[in-house]
């Protein structure tokens, strides 16, 4: 009973002590909250997306691999089904065909037309009907339109579109709007991941319309599901053998499928962030808890002595002081878990809305509950670990000593002063802050670590934003200098370029010839487009990896930077270039920067000889007079062979939209970093100021002005901030390198770029944070009750 009675008194003391320094406790709890929330949001977000993708893939029977051939008969499917390890096969047409949208303004787009069974669902790569219905019988030809494309162009069931093959046009009624597991991220290919719906879209046509459309039954792609437990590589090899008579042009596994690859990359990034960043917050939270609790125990020395003297046990004292840390941890962790849960839903919904994921799964399974519990645990644990040292120290104080007035804090000269005697001649305004930094080295070190972590988070986010800006500038200001590009469905004569150049609308016209090629070096192969450019091209800029402008050369081939690793190739090596009609060998004469996709570049003449045709082109790059930008597309449609017209401004907008989404997330992260820096600095500065209130009151009594005191505090904090700057920048740079490593693929070449001004800006933000976070402390000092504080015993 006595024990209980004493405990309840202690609890009252605990509550009152907490209330007395509520802002400090809150600041530390917020750091924990941010860490736990970050963990919860990113982990649950990651799980939600992963489950949504997995569920979608399973429900719609997303292919394990796809094989493209030149042409195969329909009966080939039966043969393939008999291969052991194959669960299901679908044969289909997959062809890029000109699609004309009627309506207000006629638009022509090179659409991907994929065939689906007319009266049943495909065994592999099904679609989900979002609006309207699947193909309908007896109402003429119907087709299905992929949702993002339909949304962009405002297409609805019942609308009419036309497909054109060999100048023969067939009208289709839209039966339904669908989503597809292959086009959750609507990438045209691994080379063209980010394409505007102005130039690319996906439509699904009934299999029985194909002969009418193509003039004959036509299958050029097989999609496979593999049985559980079957060896994928063996199955693929057998399938390739079986399809050999029809000439296999490409094999794409699920991992390499463009949409899935883009989503996986993003998902993996999510998963890694869920691991790395919360760790930074929790370390800082632990340091802040330690600083705060050490200060409390020191300040309450005489109280502890008294508690022990009147009969409280060591254990009670230990538990009492550990409770402070525990309460910070519990409040931060619970609030963080709730915030993380809510944030994860927001993040998931943002993604779902942005990507139009067919099936979303936001559910709390055992893994999710476990993660939330883990979040609670990793929030509370660092506080307890950090709190146990000061709490143990408190419980071990000897009562008689604890109640005695301790001697003044030991002052000493800094090592720096011994090394640099001029420091000793500094005025007090500088000497006092400098010595204060070295007075409690551990606390200063923790402050520097906290600031460094804050800086690193700010820098990582800023680095991402910088890199996006650099990439956008590179792609749309320096590489893609044309205003519009006309693509033809079939090769056209070179003379067309002169014709278009004579238009009023154009300032400059350059021909381009793109050939589907397969690059081979040793055992490595890569299918991509080889682009033939004029040697004096002004509308398409090529830059070597060190940033110098280069041009295509007659004697060799230029490759995108990303292919150096993919093909394990270097300058001087010879690469096999295989097109549908020719095979040739070219020496690699250089690598060029290419933010999106990986291509090969040769001269127009080289490309023409690869294509096996003289003076042919597949596209025209246009420099358009500004006043004609809006009307150039319509004008370009007048050329009969025009398949699509890409406007650089539209592509720019599309990419900027996607990047804006990612940049938004980075700004949130930057905010988290700044909040963390603010909380740790606020804690340390306030503790420092409180601890020295007697000294400060004495200085004020001697006649030092408020400004002088504020200046000393500011100098001390700014010096600590500067000390954290370099390690913070190094750490941030390292983290950025670690995270960017993931986005270096043949699809995206996302080089890490940090503009010099960003370092300055980061430093500026941190100094600003320091100045803001010391304001409450300085205010408190300036309100000190001088007569009372100067008479206080040393504590």
């Amino acid at each position: 009973m006595d024990e209980l009675h004493r405990m309840s008194k202690l609890n009252r003391k605990l509550v009152r002590d907490l209330a007395a320094s509520k802002w400090l406790f809150l600041a530390v709890a917020i750091v924990i909250l941010l860490g736990v929330a970050f963990f919860g949001a990113s982990f649950l977000g990651y799980r939600n997306l992963k489950k949504s993708y997995d569920y979608t893939y399973e429900t719609l029977r997303f292919a394990d691999f796809t094989v493209q051939v030149v042409k195969a008969p329909e009966m080939a499917v039966e043969e393939l089904e008999s291969i052991s390890g194959i669960e299901a096969v679908t044969g289909r047409m997959d062809s890029d065909i000109i699609l004309t949208l009627s309506g207000g303004e006629e638009k022509r787009i090179l659409a991907r037309a994929i065939s689906l069974p007319s009266d049943s669902r495909p065994a592999v790569n099904d679609v989900k009907v979002e609006e309207g219905s699947y193909f309908q019988d007896g109402q003429g030809s119907t087709l299905l339109v992929e949702k993002s494309f339909a949304e962009y162009h405002g297409l609805q069931p019942g609308d009419i579109v036309r497909l054109t093959v060999d100048e023969q046009e067939i009208s289709f009624t839209i039966a339904g709007i669908v989503t597809s597991p292959e086009y959750i991220f609507p990438a045209k290919s691994r080379q063209e991941v980010l394409v505007s719906a102005e130039t690319f879209g996906v439509v699904f046509v009934p299999q029985d319309v194909v002969p009418e459309l193509m003039g004959k039954p036509f299958i050029n792609e097989f999609c496979f599901l593999i049985e559980d437990g079957a060896d994928k590589d063996v199955v693929i090899a057998e399938v390739e053998d079986a399809l050999d008579p029809y000439i296999v042009t490409d094999v794409v596994t699920q991992a390499d499928q463009p949409s899935n690859a883009a989503l996986s990359m993003d998902l993996q990034e999510f998963g890694e962030m869920a691991e790395v960043f919360p760790l930074l917050f929790l370390i800082v939270g632990a340091l802040a808890t330690y600083i705060l609790l050490t200060r409390i125990v020191y300040k309450q020395r005489s109280q502890i002595g008294l508690m022990r003297a009147v009969g409280y046990s060591r254990r009670q004292v230990l538990i009492h002081y550990l409770s402070f840390a525990l309460i910070i941890g519990i409040i931060g962790a619970i609030a963080g878990t709730v915030a993380g849960y809510l944030l994860s839903e927001a993040v998931t919904n943002l993604y779902v809305g942005f990507l139009r994921i067919p099936y979303t799964r936001i559910e709390m399974g055992w893994m999710e509950w476990l993660a939330l519990e883990e979040g609670l645990f990793i929030g509370i644990l660092p506080c307890v670990i950090a709190g146990i040292i000061p709490a143990l120290a408190a419980s071990r104080l000897i009562p008689s000593e604890a109640m005695r007035t301790p001697p003044p804090a030991s002052g000493r000269k800094m090592l720096l002063e011994r090394l640099f005697p001029f420091l000793a001649r500094l005025s007090s305004l500088w000497k006092i802050p400098l010595r204060n930094i070295f007075r409690n080295r551990r606390r200063s070190l923790y402050t520097i670590i906290g600031i460094a972590f804050g800086i690193s988070l700010i820098l990582v986010s800023a680095a991402f934003i910088d890199s996006v800006d650099y990439l956008m500038n590179l792609q749309f200001e320096r590489i893609q200098k044309y205003d519009a590009q006309i693509s033809f469905a079939q090769p056209q004569p070179l003379a067309l370029a002169d014709e278009v150049e004579d238009w009023d609308e154009t300032e400059r016209v350059e021909p381009i010839l793109k050939i589907a090629t397969r690059l081979e070096h040793g055992d490595n192969t890569y299918s991509t487009l080889t682009e033939g450019l004029p040697t004096d091209s002004e509308l398409y800029g090529l830059y070597s990896t060190d940033g110098n402008q280069v041009t295509v050369r007659e004697e060799g081939i230029l490759l995108s930077e990303g292919l150096r690793n993919t093909l394990n190739i270097d300058v001087g090596d010879v690469v096999n270039v295989q097109s549908t009609s020719t095979v040739g060998q070219l020496e690699v004469v250089g690598f060029v920067k290419q933010p999106m996709g990986s291509f090969a570049y040769v001269t127009l003449e080289q490309a023409q000889s690869m294509a096996g045709g003289q003076d042919v082109i597949t596209g025209l790059m246009l420099g358009v007079k500004p006043q004609y930008i809006d009307s150039i597309r319509e004008k370009a449609y007048q050329i009969p062979g025009t398949a699509s017209v890409e406007l650089t401004s539209e592509t720019h907008e599309k990419v900027a939209g996607l990047m804006g989404f990612l940049k938004g997330m980075m700004w949130v992260m930057l905010g988290f970093g700044a909040a963390m820096a603010l909380a740790i600095v606020f804690t340390v500065v306030t503790v420092n100021i409180l601890e020295r209130s007697r000294e400060i009151a004495t200085m004020r009594t001697l006649g030092e002005g408020r400004g002088g005191i504020a200046a000393m505090i500011t100098i001390e904090n700014v010096l600590l901030g500067l000390a954290g700057l370099l390690p913070g920048i190094l750490l941030g740079y390292g983290l950025a390198v670690f995270l960017f490593r993931l986005i270096q693929t043949d699809m995206f070449s996302f080089g890490l770029v940090i503009f010099p001004r960003t370092y300055a800006l980061t430093a500026g933000i941190v100094i600003l944070i320091m100045l803001i976070s010391q304001l409450p402390g300085i205010r408190q000092v300036n309100r000190l009750d001088l007569p009372r504080v100067i008479k206080e015993q040393v504590s």
Partner: protein, 208 residues
């Protein structure tokens, strides 16, 4: 209460706890403001000063000596004195000041390396280096042993005589009154005794 102090007087203010000794000192020192009444120091009404004015007043006119010494722990003895010296235009040489209080050989020691008496002597040097006309001492011997206390009082008395500083010394130790020119006794905020001491004794002869 009304109290007139003549320049150069050594006044000891006595009284039990709560009698208002320290409050009186804080009011004169510009640390506290009275709810009513006036305080005039050297012809200037300090009760009319704002926060900034009070800071200048403390800086230029007042030297404080505290019971708990209140040295800045991160500064050496000399630097503590220099800190105060830097606040005024024509300070006394800090090293000379430390010599006056008998600490010539301890100038580069930090407070934690000094005894209580030494710390208090640094505090006196710090108060005097600004060359203020008034020295306010709140229980300056409260934390010191008998011998050390007497030595501190001797230093103060000498400074009062040689440098003509007005000294107001607050204590509850009645014996110290014997060294003063004038003794004022307070009770509950009122002056209950104000007597002149025609022949103050040398601090060394004190007994308590």
């Amino acid at each position: 209460m009304t109290l007139d102090v003549t320049r150069g007087e050594f006044i000891v203010i006595l009284g039990p706890s709560g009698s208002g000794k320290t409050t009186l000192l804080n009011l004169v020192g510009g640390l506290d403001s009275p709810t009513s009444g006036k305080i005039i120091v050297g012809g200037r009404m300090i009760t009319a000063l704002d926060e900034k004015g009070l800071t200048y007043y403390r800086r230029n006119r007042i030297g404080f000596v505290f019971q708990f010494f209140n040295l800045i722990p991160t500064l050496t003895a000399r630097e503590n004195v220099e800190f105060a010296a830097a606040l005024v235009n024509n300070p006394i040489d800090p090293v000379k000041m430390l010599k006056v209080v008998g600490l010539k050989r301890r100038t580069n020691h930090f407070p934690s390396e000094l005894s209580g008496g030494e710390q208090q002597r640094v505090a006196i040097a710090r108060a005097l280096v600004k060359d203020p006309p008034i020295l306010l001492c709140d229980e300056p011997t409260g934390e010191l042993d008998f011998e050390t206390g007497k030595r501190i009082l001797a230093v103060m008395r000498r400074i009062n005589e040689v440098r003509h500083k007005t000294v107001l010394l607050v204590t509850h130790n009645t014996a110290i009154g014997d060294i003063a020119d004038r003794v004022i006794r307070l009770r509950s905020g009122e002056i209950v005794e104000d007597r002149r001491n025609p022949s103050p004794i040398d601090p060394q002869e004190l007994r308590w």
